[in-house]
Symmetry: C2
Subunit: 193 residues, 2 copies
Amino acid sequence: MSVVSIQERRERERAERERLIVTAARELAESEGWEAVTTRRLAEEIEYSQPVLYSHFKGKDAIMAAVAVEGFADLAAELRAARTAAADPRQALADVGAAYALFAARRPALYDAMFTHAVDLPFATAQAPPALREGFGELREALRPLARDDDLETLTETFWSALHGLLTLMRNGRLRRDDHDRRLTLLLARFSR
Amino acid sequence: MSVVSIQERRERERAERERLIVTAARELAESEGWEAVTTRRLAEEIEYSQPVLYSHFKGKDAIMAAVAVEGFADLAAELRAARTAAADPRQALADVGAAYALFAARRPALYDAMFTHAVDLPFATAQAPPALREGFGELREALRPLARDDDLETLTETFWSALHGLLTLMRNGRLRRDDHDRRLTLLLARFSR
DNA sequence: GTCTCCTCGCTAGCAGTGCTAGATACAAGA
DNA sequence: TCTTGTATCTAGCACTGCTAGCGAGGAGAC
């Protein structure tokens, strides 16, 4: 048995355990909310002691950031699917918007880690996680045919923000739940004229 | 000295202390953030022991809710000032939007208590705090002349959400700070055509 | 094959959190 | 003057994120 292969197995196992941590954190957050995700609970879930978490991540925030990055990938995939399946540009924007809203509604805890919680991740720069840039790119491409004379980047950021505002305000009770579709329709009308 | 007057003085002093608590919480949150507002720190600030807080409020969340209600009054006043000072409807909407953004930028902790934190307050109903309804009303009146065929209430909620999204995403680093004015301008254009 | 060393994961504990039970001092009324 | 009730405090509970330092067990040297 070579030295290298033993080291490799160890690194592999370590990487597996790291994924185990992130997955456990995501599942726990999705099923019981982030306030239920404590280091003790997480340690119990992965069947290791607490300090093991800190050999993988700097702290709880870093774990949340890792969960967020996973989420970006999922969101990007769902947006892409929605955009490419649509018949025309207007429909594409509507579908992408609906897919975004659905993602936020179905996985609120994950969404919070990605966009609400103050995690230490680079965002609106070239250093941002590729999955995040990709998701943003889907929104941009959906808007491109409808941009007219507006700067595409600015337009995308603004539309994204509006969508984000609708979802967050509704989710913590600031907006009436049953008017959601009407608001979404109105927003789409204003951005796809 | 009558019995009633003594009781009255006591109730007056109690009410004063309650205001003291709310003010201390707001100031502490604004200067050092909500994570610095602990019950111990707050008790120290008002020069009483911890349990006194719980004779006024059910818990920390209730204190935050009280701070939020104070904030709604401030915001409503600033929005009203901006709206009534404007020359024409388009300018009014622009000024109200700018006033809203300025409020959120100048008092981020207060804004969070009002719109981000999950406080136990009625919002989009008739039971909502008057100050909150008033602030929302200012937005609605600013939008009324520009509503055309859209439902005014839905339009207001949507515009408000868009504004909220822009501010929150920018503030926790999801958007580039220097593009803020461009995004705001774009949003106003889409809502005041 | 034996011994040493080093890495890894553990137990135990620190300083902080929100919140509360029970003791206590103090003022009002008999 | 004595009793009663209330307002306030001290002390403590159960929890949080995080870490120091110990001990077992495998890797490498001889």
